[in-house]
């Protein structure tokens, strides 16, 4: 099983994949910190969050495989999908950067995921609602952990502040993608599957403003740039990430692991 699988272009499937891939790709990035964090407690915390995110992605990919009508399992979807069929917003795939970059990306995405899981808990799809119920507890902890560090770093030393500002300036460019709707969102809301991503914007901004306020960090202005990972058009970083992640499955066709 080393050649790529084809993904049916149904809005429901894309809605699930956008979320599963956000969890998987962010988990992949957080896993890179293992053994390299600033203190041992953070090696453990970041690995633990990666583990939660991979777990969430597994549940979602399994569900997506069932809904695809193709009988794909979680590993076929994770390891045999081509880059253009990956649907995470670009923000999740950006290289891990320094610790400020990782922390602030976690603030942005854990808040977004928490709000998403809260809403998906009421999904018309009972399985998705059940996944959301478990994931919500994890996302709350992730948000708290990231927010605590954002405050320490934003209101720490001149250097930590400078690094936070630089990280935020880059990260912020990729946040509009988290709140733009298209036909996938329209179909999901019509079916009661989950919220349109735009519905998360207001509560997200309120929570982010509070966290960044406590961290004494200013919210950057909006730029004209728009990322497009959730439509399959990723940054240059994504190809390298997938090559690394998928290499064993691609190199050992028919293998059992």
């Amino acid at each position: 099983m080393s050649s790529s699988i084809k993904i049916p272009a149904t809005p429901e499937l894309h809605y699930l994949l956008r979320l599963s891939d956000t969890c998987l790709i962010l988990g992949q990035r957080l896993g890179e910190w293992c053994g390299h964090a600033p203190i041992l407690e953070e090696d453990i915390a970041l690995s633990n969050m990666a583990l939660d995110l991979i777990g969430q992605s597994r549940a979602l990919l399994t569900l997506a495989g069932q809904r695809s009508g193709e009988g794909y399992d979680e590993d076929q979807l994770a390891f045999l999908r081509d880059e253009i069929d990956y649907r995470n917003p670009t923000l999740a795939e950006l290289p891990r950067g320094d610790f400020a970059f990782t922390v602030l990306r976690n603030v942005i995405l854990s808040t977004w995921l928490k709000l998403m899981w809260e809403r998906l808990h009421d999904s018309s799809d009972a399985e998705l609602a059940a996944i959301a119920g478990k994931a919500l507890k994890e996302a709350r902890y992730h948000q708290q952990h990231a927010a605590d560090w954002a405050v320490r770093l934003g209101d720490g030393t001149d250097e930590s502040r400078r690094r936070c500002e630089a990280a935020l300036a880059t990260l912020w460019l990729y946040t509009p993608e988290l709140f733009e709707d298209d036909a996938v969102d329209a179909a999901a809301t019509a079916a009661g599957l989950g919220p349109a991503w735009s519905q998360l914007r207001e509560p997200w901004l309120a929570e982010i403003s509070e966290i960044l306020g406590e961290a004494t960090l200013a919210i950057p202005g909006e730029a004209a740039f728009r990322s497009s990972g959730k439509r399959g058009l990723h940054s240059e970083h994504m190809g390298y990430l997938l090559v690394e992640m998928q290499y064993l499955q691609r190199s050992y066709p028919g293998g059992a692991w």
Binding site: G35, P38, L51, G156, G254
Partner: protein
């Protein structure tokens, strides 16, 4: 994971400090009696200075081994072949970080801070288990480490659960439980590859086993007749079982497990000895062991450089956390 026998390290001078007062002599006598009675020593109890030093060295080096040991396997987190294996590996490496934490905490009860211990690691004064100076070249190495390296570690560590120093013994009880789990996971991952996988995967497993076998036997430390410090460790109840006894126990168990896996060990002299009821094994290349312990293994420089880089790259983070804590304290005081 662990650590290698403390016997590779310099002699701490044993139990023979010049006792200056009658009170000290009495304390020493009471300590000796407790050790003889098999009692545990707690951090606040009086203990001979050399006992403290020896334990501090052993526990901190064990802690260092855990965190350096995160690197060779952590190397494969981003490349794990399935999401299940990725999750298992993340959890395992995270456990190792946790073991490092308990062990640093246990060592801190002896009066040295974690930062001081890390400084000793980063400056090359403290050692860590040299098994982690070997590279993980294929995915099968992850399974082989779980099966063989963790298997050897368990043989070494189970007796430490009865170590006379109670904080170390308590930490080891939990660590051993987790290590047993890791070993089973490692074995299981190899079993799936050899029983359900392809010829290419079977070859990958055998090749990894070939590379890890001898370094694993070295993990138990030099032969008993070349372990000058063992007697003192035994006397103090820090070491309970000799290097060669543990090594033999490991070989006997591993041979049976290898049969289940259908892999062989790279030792033409490995054969059952009817008389001793044990598996005989060939001569270990101790020159390789001493070369790796001495800093010239395949990955010594990379491993230490990775730890130092993580520490140096994180300095601004630790400073910021302290600066923020000071600001918060001032605000609370105001």
């Amino acid at each position: 994971m662990y650590t290698q026998a403390m016997d590779t390290l310099r002699d701490e001078g044993g139990d023979k400090p010049a006792l200056r007062t009658a009170e000290e002599a009495q304390l020493q006598q009471r300590f000796d009696n407790r050790i003889d009675a098999g009692d545990f020593i707690e951090a606040k109890d009086w203990m001979p200075e050399n006992y403290r030093k020896t334990l501090l060295r052993q526990i901190s080096q064990h802690a260092h081994s855990e965190i350096v040991g995160m690197l060779p396997e952590g190397n494969w987190i981003t490349r794990a072949p399935t999401l299940k294996r990725k999750s298992i590996l993340l959890a395992k490496v995270q456990d190792e970080g946790g073991h490092g934490l308990y062990l640093y905490a246990a060592a801190e009860t002896l009066g040295t801070s974690r930062d001081q211990m890390l400084d000793a690691l980063h400056t090359g004064k403290a050692k860590y288990s040299s098994i982690f100076n070997y590279p993980t070249l294929t995915w099968a190495d992850v399974g082989a480490i779980g099966w063989l390296v963790d298997g050897a570690a368990i043989m070494n560590q189970v007796p430490i659960c009865r170590c006379s120093f109670a904080p170390y013994a308590r930490a080891m009880v939990r660590i051993c439980r987790e290590e047993s789990f890791h070993q089973r996971q490692g074995f299981d991952s190899l079993l799936v590859m050899v029983k359900q996988g392809t010829d290419a995967q079977r070859a990958m497993v055998q090749e990894a086993v070939n590379r890890w076998w001898w370094p694993c036997l070295m993990m138990f430390g030099p032969p008993d007749d070349q372990s000058p410090n063992s007697a003192q460790g035994m006397r103090w109840g820090i070491k309970r079982v000799s290097n060669d006894t543990l090594r033999q126990k490991f070989v006997d168990a591993a041979v049976q497990q290898a049969e289940v896996l259908g892999v062989t060990f790279p030792d033409p002299d490995l054969r059952w000895n009817e008389e001793s009821q044990h598996w005989d094994y060939g001569a270990i290349d101790w020159s390789e062991f001493w070369r790796v312990v001495g800093g010239d293994g395949p990955c010594n420089r990379e491993r230490l450089a990775a730890r130092v880089k993580a520490w140096e790259d994180g300095e601004w983070v630790r400073e910021a956390a302290l600066a923020h804590a000071r600001k918060s304290d001032l605000k609370e005081a105001a």
